[in-house]
Amino acid sequence: MKKGIAVTAGMLVLAAGMLGACQKADNSTAAPTTQAVTQAESGSAGGETETPAAGDGYAAPADTVEFSMSMRSLAYRYFDQAPDINDDKWKVELENRTNSKIDIMVVPQTGYVEKMNLMFASGQIPDVVQASSYSDPALANAVAEDVFMPLDDLIKEYAPNLWERVPEDVWESLRYDDGHIYGLPEYLSSTTRRATYIRKDLLDKYNLEIPVTLDDYVNVMRVFKDKGVKYPYVGREKFMYTDTFFGAFNAVPTTWLLDENDQVVPAFIMPQMKDALAFYHDLYEEGLIDKESLLNKQEDWERKCVAGEVGIFQRNVVNYSQMQAKLEQSVPDGEFIMIPGPVGPDGGHGVAKASPYMRVFLFNRNMKNPERVLQFFDYMGTDEAAEFFSFGIEGETYTKNADGSINFEYPTDTGAMDELQYRADWLWGVRNSAYNEYLLPYQTGGNTILDYFNEVAPTEGREWIDVKQMETLTTYPDLQTQENRQEYWQAYAAKVFYGELDVEETFDSFVEDYYKIGGKEVVEEATKRYREGLAVWTK
């Protein structure tokens, strides 16, 4: 036994050594700073580096720019196929086309916030940092602490294609409290990202018209229930993706509105929230909404939808093809369509408009040659890049006809799909993240998605005041309005939903208590920001 242990131990140490040797040789803890391999080092702008005007197409500058960048993996499966992204074929091709050499650090999704924080704490800050917003917890207040550099003066000159392509209100929304733009956005051309899905086949089967008003919806749900549909409407934990009817009342809990005194208040204390909550409770009582909605995790909720048990639900538009395909496996004749949300008492419909950008790329203040790095990003705003990222390399992954139209076959193999998604979504970085108009026509169900964005989305959705970074919300975190952090409201809404509290009797004290436990200061700050133009209406 003793010898056995010794031998095993020896082998394990050997194995550990081998594993250790396999690690990358470059384990340096210092983030490499930009090194431009030519003259223009002293930071003087203009003149020496080429700055093509927008629309000229892209001409990669002669010098190679080197920089480091951190990007979140977003759990893309492709990284399992290609563990070292820096050797990846598409990334290398991108580098060739832009004459750059990038050290990309892919930060895994698991523990992303902790990892970023630790990285910063140990003094490593890459040249370019990707984050979900200026107040991303992963940044640990970096923007406020002056870690990044303002870009406004430089973008127009060194990234003209981007300047043109990204809508102006997106650039405006990227202004921090001090008025400067600190990041390049992964923007959304449509801030309406979610749709109301409904089972067209069931509507047809029971001779129902597509519902428009709130009453229509209720009628449809009642018929569904009558005819045996298990869940006429289904919700999810924390009321996420459950705000179809909140939208109708203009009481979406993630939004801020002006109250009767012209104060900026969270929608959840507006009077219409009372009606909305009463409505949801009635749905609960009548069995029109899944009783266990607030217990549904994402998998549970999705399972119910694609198993054919649900009549109406809310989901992102881009998931349409996937949802439809999965539904067909359980219910061959099943058909989802995406319709405008219920029209409420005030005539409006739709849920909260999203923030105009999904992610931002921030520039480290200590970066040398930010102009050159901007030129790298500028590539992403060109038509040539759109073609590259969407379709790949001409002759290899697609071909072009004489008239310029593209021959492309959307992959069906999992590995190829992962690769496409990686290149067109992840690698493209600064792009329209709402949908890829180039690729959609080639995708099953893609035209349905495109139609929704073109026809329904423009008039769908609720506008609200985006208060952005608020100090009082750090002091009173329960009063936040972020989708899964609205603790104060959630506690109340859940109880009303289940019937534990009567909304008619308790809503007023709910609002009063809000002001008492810190809401007063929160509203003051929000209103002040609004008056100063720091808190703005969404578009």
């Binding site: 910063f120 506690a491 859940a494 534990e500």
Partner: protein, 314 residues
């Protein structure tokens, strides 16, 4: 046996050194581990100073301002603080009173099983749930057992003629659910310590007792339990030391708007509200607060334990 004579002070210290030298091997044995504690526990512990600072990741520990007890005052001033404290204490107590005895009872029951095969089989099965993550345990309880229409418990209630209950729709049952899920998951795994301890008991003691006419209960009472006392004391006191560390994930999987007032604890609170950037100072502050409570309780229980059963942790 050595006889200690009363030595004059100067000779006493020399005698101490001589004693150490005589048994130097034991001290050498202890050294690597002690070094480890110093390096990997005590040195980082110095970093707890963050709790007394206005810590910024970018300024680092040396660059961040010292603010004394400001973070603690902020913590105590927080409106929900007393509620969270009450939850932590209540759940901690339930955990000790209800969860602690179960593994022991399980070990004792297993010990009485005569068929070795049955015993081993049961032992293996009950140790399984520990390997399910809390996410899975949570969904087993919420979906399989407690679902309002088809959950097993409700179906049982129906058969017995009672009304169905939507357990997760209020905060009434949530503490019980949280504690039971913990018992279900970890009972078999925690029992292993007692099972191992029982095997070390001299079987001849049982023989003698049987000859004297003692029945099973008396055997357990006068032989098994006393022999297990040192292990039980160790396990209990260690649990007390971590009194307010119930565990993040096991609460998180059940936490919802409707029950958070009854089961919210410090760890979930920090995560839940995601205090942009202020997390580190704050969580260190909370960590220190919990630790002080745990230490106090530990010292107290150790004292009581020594008075009661003549055995403590130190």
């Amino acid at each position: 046996m050595k006889v200690q004579k009363e030595l004059p002070p100067s000779k006493r210290s020399r005698s101490v050194i001589r004693q150490i030298y005589q048994h130097k091997t034991i001290y050498v044995m202890a050294l690597p581990a002690i070094l480890w504690y110093i390096i990997f526990k005590y040195i980082p512990l110095m970093g707890s100073v963050i709790a007394f600072q206005d810590y910024s990741i970018f300024k680092g520990i040396s660059g961040s301002a010292f603010v004394g007890f400001k973070n603690f005052r902020k913590l105590f001033a927080y409106p929900d603080f007393y509620n969270i404290l009450r939850n932590s204490v209540t759940i901690g107590l339930y955990d000790i009173l209800l969860s602690f005895p179960m593994p022991l009872i399980l070990a004792l029951s297993l010990n009485e099983v005569r068929s070795l095969k049955y015993k081993k089989g049961i032992q293996t099965i009950v140790y399984l749930p520990h390997f399910l993550s809390w996410v899975v345990v949570g969904s087993i309880f919420v979906n399989v057992l407690l679902s309002p229409d088809f959950g097993l418990i409700n179906r049982l209630l129906e058969i017995l003629g009672f009304e169905k209950v939507f357990f997760m729709a209020s905060s009434k049952y949530i503490r019980g659910i949280v504690i039971s899920s913990g018992v279900w998951r970890d009972m078999g795994y925690s029992a292993i310590v007692y099972i191992a301890a029982i095997t070390s008991i001299d079987p001849s003691l049982y023989e003698a007792a049987r000859i004297d006419g003692a029945n099973k209960f008396n055997q357990i009472r006068y032989i098994t339990l006393p022999s297990l006392t040192p292990v039980i004391v160790t396990m209990l006191l260690l649990k007390v030391g971590h009194f307010m560390d119930f565990g993040f994930e096991r609460i998180w999987v059940f936490l919802s708007g409707v029950n958070q007032e009854k089961i919210e604890i410090f760890d979930t609170f920090i995560y839940r509200v995601g205090l942009q950037g202020a997390q580190f100072s704050f969580s260190t502050t909370i960590g220190l607060f919990k630790a002080v409570v745990g230490l106090t309780l530990l010292l107290g229980s150790n004292y009581i334990s020594k008075r009661l059963v003549d055995k403590g942790l130190f």
